[in-house]
Amino acid sequence: MELVKPEIGLIFWMTLSFLILLFILKKAAWKPVLKMLTKREDDITKALNEANLAKEQMKQLTIDNEKLLAQAKDERDAILSEARKISQKMYDDAKIKASEEGQRIIAAARENIDIEKQKAVADIKNMIAEFSLEIAEKVLQSELSDKNRQKDYIHQQIEHINLS
């Protein structure tokens, strides 16, 4: 029976001790321990969230970077092709202009040549006329030095003139 009989002394000491233990542990142990455990859990959750956020941001950044790179590439290509076009155009323009200039110079030269040629031809004609006159004069002087010959020539000329 003594095994199952509660004793007042033990109950008294147990109640007192347990209350004191509960009080001390609550103030000195459970409060800091539980606070720290909760804080650690919160910190871990926060850190995980932050890591996720950072990962997300990193991803966004990479995407942005790639976008930027692609854009830059496109821009470069555009600029290059534009430059190529401009240079081609400049080359073509220069070519056309050069050929035009050439043509023009050739045409002008040809014109000059023509003018010079005509001048020369006119000069030659004039000279030929002068020479002819001189020759004719000399011939006439020699032919008409005596009276008989003058008469013969006049007759000859008159003969050529057909009065009919």
């Binding site: 095994l3 509660p6 147990m14 539980l34």
Partner: protein
């Protein structure tokens, strides 16, 4: 083999079964032998050399005492004489239990009772002629073996947890180190697997109580398994201790019980009216349930731990029983006994944890039931209109 394949429920049953069987074998035996002893004692006071009495020995080890008997050296007992504190109408008496001379001498009108019955082993007031005065009122607040063990247990708990708290304060949110690393999983276990699922949102409020209770039972269970001085007292296997623990649960449960809790006791919903009026049958059952819950808590812990101590002691006693027949036989039996004792010790380690867990879990469940917010689908006034 049987224990291995048994689940928790049937394991509990097995424990009770073993406890009952051992109790049935030992208790009449002890009563019978103590009578015998009583008879021989009057003729020959030096009972130390008399026949080895199993029941007496075991019961002596599991019940409380005014001395802490550590060991015998050359037939002389080495024991700590604990202070006796008695309060009666003459005032407070404080004296060493050594004055009782191992219970053979009265002192200041008090003596240790040897008679069979409720007061066996307790301090009683005696008349001049040596008869027990049953009407005399006094309070026995002696520092007994269990009270000292309680103080040692509390000292151990405080030493552990104040150091753990210091560790947390020092290291902050960093991973725990040293003893805190061993304690943290248990704290988390109580919080995450006992308090939160059973109580829910309000668990933070009851967590210090549940944690204190869990570690008090667990550490004292373990101390009880230590076979020599600072441990070895059957503290958590003492009905007074478990009753106080259960009383705390009882008080907290009923103090924090909300309207729904009392409504479920006084007027349980979903029960036919004729079970409540004119005879309040179900409310009566519910009311009994309020008291049986803590009583069962107290008895479960007490019976489990005491049974463990009795079985362990039984195995050790086997050696001496056979040793009395022949020393060689005792030596032979000791091999098996020690093997079984070790096996029981390992089992008791498990039980120490399981019982602390079960006690805390059930306390949490009772508190949880008391603070639970019910959401009945009762039509409100607005809905009826």
């Amino acid at each position: 083999m049987i224990l291995k394949c048994c689940k928790k429920g049937s394991y509990d049953f097995l424990r009770y079964f073993v406890f009952v069987v051992v109790g049935v074998i030992l208790l009449p035996n002890s009563a019978f032998c103590s009578e015998n002893l009583e008879g021989t004692e009057s003729k020959e006071p030096s009972h130390a050399k008399s026949k080895f009495n199993v029941g007496e020995t075991i019961i002596e080890h599991v019940v409380d005492a005014y001395q802490w008997h550590i060991m015998d050296v050359k037939g002389k007992a080495i024991a700590i004489d604990l202070p006796v504190i008695l309060i009666d109408n003459e005032g407070i008496h404080v004296f060493s239990s050594a004055h009782f001379e191992h219970g053979h001498q009265p002192y200041k009108g008090y003596a240790i009772c040897h008679q069979k019955g409720m007061k066996k082993g307790k301090i009683v007031k005696i008349h001049e002629n040596g008869e027990i005065d049953n009407d005399f009122f006094y309070l026995d607040l002696s520092i007994t073996k269990n009270v000292l063990s309680l103080f040692i247990g509390i000292a151990v708990i405080l030493a552990i947890f104040l150091s753990v708290a210091r560790n947390y304060k020092k290291r902050g949110v960093q991973a725990p180190k040293g003893i805190a690393r061993a304690i943290e999983p248990l704290v988390l276990f109580v919080r995450n697997d006992i308090a939160r699922p059973c109580i829910g949102k309000k668990s933070e409020k009851y967590l210090p109580f549940l944690l204190t209770m869990f570690f008090f039972i667990f550490i004292n269970n373990l101390l009880g398994l230590v076979p020599f001085f600072p441990g070895g007292a059957n503290l958590t296997g003492n009905i007074s201790i478990t009753a106080v623990l259960a009383a705390f649960t009882f008080i907290i449960t009923n103090v924090s019980g909300n309207r729904d809790y009392w409504k479920h006791i006084v007027n349980p919903p979903g029960v036919p009216w004729w079970l409540k009026i004119p005879i309040p049958l179900i409310p009566l059952v519910e009311l009994i349930g309020v008291f049986t819950k803590p009583i069962v808590l107290a008895i479960r812990l007490f019976a489990n731990i005491t049974a463990g101590h009795i079985i362990a002691l039984g195995f050790i006693c086997l050696i001496f029983i056979f040793g009395q027949m022949s020393p060689a036989l005792g030596g032979g039996v000791s091999v098996g006994s020690v093997a079984f004792y070790i096996f029981m010790g390992l089992l008791e380690l498990l039980v120490a944890f399981i019982q602390a867990f079960v006690f805390t879990l059930l306390s949490a469940i009772y508190i949880g039931l008391a603070v639970e917010e019910h959401h009945h689908k009762e039509p409100s006034v607005a809905e009826i209109k």
